[in-house]
């Protein structure tokens, strides 16, 4: 019985260690995940915090320039209806390589990973969610 207890204590220590690692892990790496509609009203409160924002690139808003460290992209993301006025959208700045599914004309559904400050969302990463989008388009055609 004594050994069993000792084993239980060992197991509890391990469980505690896992819990501690998970707690600090969440504290240090948590990122808010928001849709553009959720993000817009809260954006000032979330300034300089890590965010992931899902939205649609507005048609005709993309400008592109080659720089020594990749493409410099400036565009606006808005809600998924796509026709939003500038007040319903936020400018995004990104230097790097846009994903394959990112359309230069706009209209791609994207997730922007980065930080918001002084009116602009500075993206570290631009993700497109391609296959599901692809399926949705097919479904819409029928």
């Amino acid at each position: 019985m004594n050994r069993k207890k000792r084993f239980l204590v060992g197991a509890l220590i391990l469980a505690g260690a896992v819990a501690y690692l998970m707690y600090t892990g969440v504290r240090q790496t948590a990122v808010y995940y928001l849709t553009i509609e959720e993000f817009l009203p809260k954006r000032e409160a979330l300034a300089n915090e890590g965010v992931r924002v899902a939205g649609r690139v507005q048609l005709g808003s993309v400008t592109k320039q080659m720089t020594s460290s990749g493409e410099e992209l400036n565009f606006r993301i808005g809600d998924f209806k796509g026709d939003g006025a500038p007040s319903d959208s936020v400018p995004v700045h990104f230097v790097g390589v846009a994903p394959d599914m990112f359309k230069a004309a706009g209209g791609s559904d994207v997730i922007i990973e980065g930080k918001y400050r002084e009116g602009t969302l500075y993206a570290q990463n631009v993700l497109t969610s391609c296959p599901s989008k692809y399926e949705a388009e097919v479904a819409a055609k029928q």
């Binding site: 050994r3 069993k4 060992g10 969440v26 790496t29 948590a30 990749g70 394959d100 599901s132 399926e135």
Partner: protein
């Protein structure tokens, strides 16, 4: 053919239901012919599924674009191997393919156990057919593969270009086989609970199935990693994406199960724990399918957002409630027959290994569903990314690596000081010396130093085991070292196969450590003729070459790889443009050596200026991941290879136990 396929699925649904009813009725009223009828029905379900799969393959091969599935996932110019792969490229097809594997395995189990385990088999049939019934219900009522369109498109939409890759053609079958194989030990465990035959017969009967499940889960994960590495073009192979986690979690619990059943076989301990692990493993495979199919958690490469989610949650809940309910009901009969003797023993090393594996599973599970939980609790979605998983799992993984060295060689029951000295003195010394050398050489990445010295420690324990075994055979049998090695492995396949698997795991740890600690990456925009440095190489961009086939248009960058002023290679990363779905993709170019991979991506290309953005990565030791996978496969092969042909009782003669059901 299409109508035949749809009809086959409908009849299969009825027969699966019939098989469940008849096998349970057969047990209840002790009717042997009921049970036999149920088993025949289960075999028929398999046959009907084969017909349905054949019908869908026929439609794909003949480009019957009137069929919605064919129009969605293939085109007339799609190469044949991908036309076949389109069978599991879409949702309905992948569920059908899943059902095919499940019913095929059910048939093998039924045939294997015609004259064996008769008390268990009716329940096994019922459980497996219940799972089949769920998938058949999806196929008949929710996402039918044989749906026709109102019109016939001239051309199909084509298979998603990201899936048009060799590794993507073999990754889903391997993973599904792994997932589905987990259902067999689960079904036997449930049968043991239901029948009250709770000795280790269910474990011995399903040992090979569990190993097979583990083998295919390992391969499935590795093939997926290889695919991500070659196709997704971000320089890595694992991103802790929910879809990856979904496949990784059952692997973890299956690994734990493989180890803990050894304790039950040897010591009659951990009976409840083994039940819990097998239930967890099975439900995690269903949870994994749910994650990839429901879209409840956003994943960068999630496949579909479909209405399947609620059905899977319902099925998951039903299976969990049934299995845990039965476990609680039988709890009094699952008493451990032995106690743990000492903390320094193989038993406790194995238990610790189990706790670590389950701990990792829990952390991965938590990280994966965190957005859902935070939204429910705090009303805001919070995600945790790869840093969370790396931070939590790195120390746990290292502890696991340490136990990989300890577990197989520490003595059962209670390790004496002599046993510890004999087994661990030299490996520990070698590990410490290795770590010290790395530190003196200037490596300051502490996780990496610890990981490499643990790799040395584990390898040393394994090599020492082989060495001692060979020496003993040489002394006793007078064999030469090579014969001794062959006989050593041949006579103890399970043990030495396990060691070989561990060598494969050590190789993978080397790769994971190398790529996570010492990866280099660079992104640069260059003009034709311009050069840049990367990982000891000079890379010169020599412009692009376009080319075209009816299916795809290519844009290849020519990049000369120079070492010491001399050109040693040309790498050609591509941009592809698939014409049917109008979708561009990236094709990486890799120069692979044992030490490191040079990995190049053509990020973007600007036609007017001829400038290209190149993403370059150096991934140290990454090739050990794939070699480790091969070693792991060989080791598993050695372990499951039949030791000897069963001498007693010819297989065709009914054994006296056959009538057990009616007793």
């Amino acid at each position: 053919m299409v109508e035949v396929g749809a009809l086959a699925l409908a009849v299969a649904w009825v027969l699966a239901l019939y098989a469940i009813g008849m096998s349970l009725a057969g047990v209840y009223w002790r009717k042997r012919d009921f049970v036999a009828s149920a088993e025949h029905a289960a075999l028929a379900v398999w046959g009907l599924t084969v017909i349905a799969v054949a019908a869908l393959l026929h439609a794909l091969a003949t480009h019957d674009f009137n069929l919605e599935y064919v129009a969605h996932y293939s085109s007339s110019t799609l190469p044949l191997q991908y036309t076949i792969a389109a069978l599991w490229g879409g949702q309905a097809g992948s569920l059908l393919f899943w059902t095919l594997i499940l019913t095929s395995m059910t048939s093998v189990v039924l045939l294997q156990n015609r004259y064996k385990n008769r008390e268990l088999m009716p329940y096994v049939t019922a459980v497996l057919m219940l799972i089949a019934l769920f998938f058949l219900s999806m196929l008949n009522y929710v996402t039918p593969p044989f749906e026709r369109l109102a019109f016939t498109p001239a051309e199909g939409q084509d298979l998603n270009p990201l899936l048009q890759n060799y590794w993507m053609t073999i990754h889903p079958p391997a993973l599904y086989t792994g997932f589905v194989s987990c259902a067999i030990p689960f079904a036997f465990a449930m049968a043991a609970l239901a029948s009250g035959k709770l000795d280790d017969v269910w474990i011995r009967t399903t040992r090979r199935w569990t190993l097979m499940a583990w083998f295919f889960l390992s391969l499935g994960n590795l093939f997926g990693a290889e695919w991500a590495y070659l196709v997704l073009g971000w320089g890595g192979y694992w991103a802790w994406d929910p879809v990856e986690n979904a496949a990784f979690m059952p692997w973890l619990t299956c690994t734990a199960f493989l180890h803990s059943v050894m304790i039950q076989e040897k010591k009659n301990m951990l009976k409840v724990w083994n039940m819990v692990l097998v239930i967890l493993t099975f439900t995690l495979t269903i949870f994994g399918t749910f994650l990839t199919r429901s879209g409840v958690i956003s994943s960068v490469h999630s496949f579909t957002q479909s209405g399947l989610g609620p059905y899977f949650v319902g099925f998951l809940g039903l299976m969990l409630a049934l299995s845990l309910g039965m476990l609680v009901w039988r709890l009094p009969m699952l008493k451990s027959e032995n106690e743990l003797d000492s903390m320094l023993s193989r038993e406790s090393a194995f238990m610790l290994n189990n706790l670590v594996l389950v701990g990792i599973t829990f952390a991965v599970f938590w990280g994966t569903i965190f957005p859902v939980i935070s939204e429910a609790v705090r009303g805001i979605k919070i995600t945790v990314g790869p840093p969370f998983f790396n931070k939590v799992n790195a120390p746990l993984g290292l502890l696991l690596l340490f136990l990989t060295g300890v577990g197989p060689v520490i003595a059962w029951r209670r390790a004496s000081a002599k046993n510890l000295r004999r087994s661990f003195l030299v490996p520990t010394a070698l590990g410490l010396v290795g770590g010290l050398i790395l530190f003196i050489a200037g490596v300051r990445h502490y996780y990496a130093v610890v990981s490499f010295s643990l790799c040395i420690f584990v390898m040393a324990t394994i090599v020492a085991e082989f060495y001692r075994g060979i020496r003993a055979r040489q002394a006793m049998m007078g064999e030469n070292p090579l014969t001794a090695l062959a006989h050593l492995i041949g006579k103890n396949r399970r043990r030495y196969g396990g060691y070989i698997v561990h060598i494969g795991m050590v190789m993978m740890f080397l790769a994971i450590t190398g790529t996570s600690a010492f990866k280099e990456e660079k992104q640069i925009t260059v003009k034709p003729g311009e050069s840049f440095q990367m990982g000891g190489y000079t890379l010169r961009y020599d412009g692009v070459t376009p080319s075209e086939t009816p299916h795809v248009a290519y844009l290849r960058a020519n990049i000369a790889v120079l070492e010491g002023g001399r050109q040693i290679d040309t790498l050609r990363p591509e941009k592809r443009f698939y014409k049917k779905p109008q979708q561009p993709t990236t094709e990486v170019a890799i120069r692979s050596t044992l030490g490191a991979d040079l990995y190049l991506v053509l990020g973007s290309y600007d036609d007017p200026t001829k400038m290209a953005t190149i993403q370059a990565y150096v991934n140290p030791l990454v090739s050990f991941l794939w070699w480790g996978g091969i070693v792991l496969a060989i080791g598993t092969g050695v372990t499951v290879w039949p030791t000897r042909v069963r001498a007693a009782a010819p297989a065709y003669a009914p054994s006296p136990r056959e009538g057990a059901v009616t007793e």
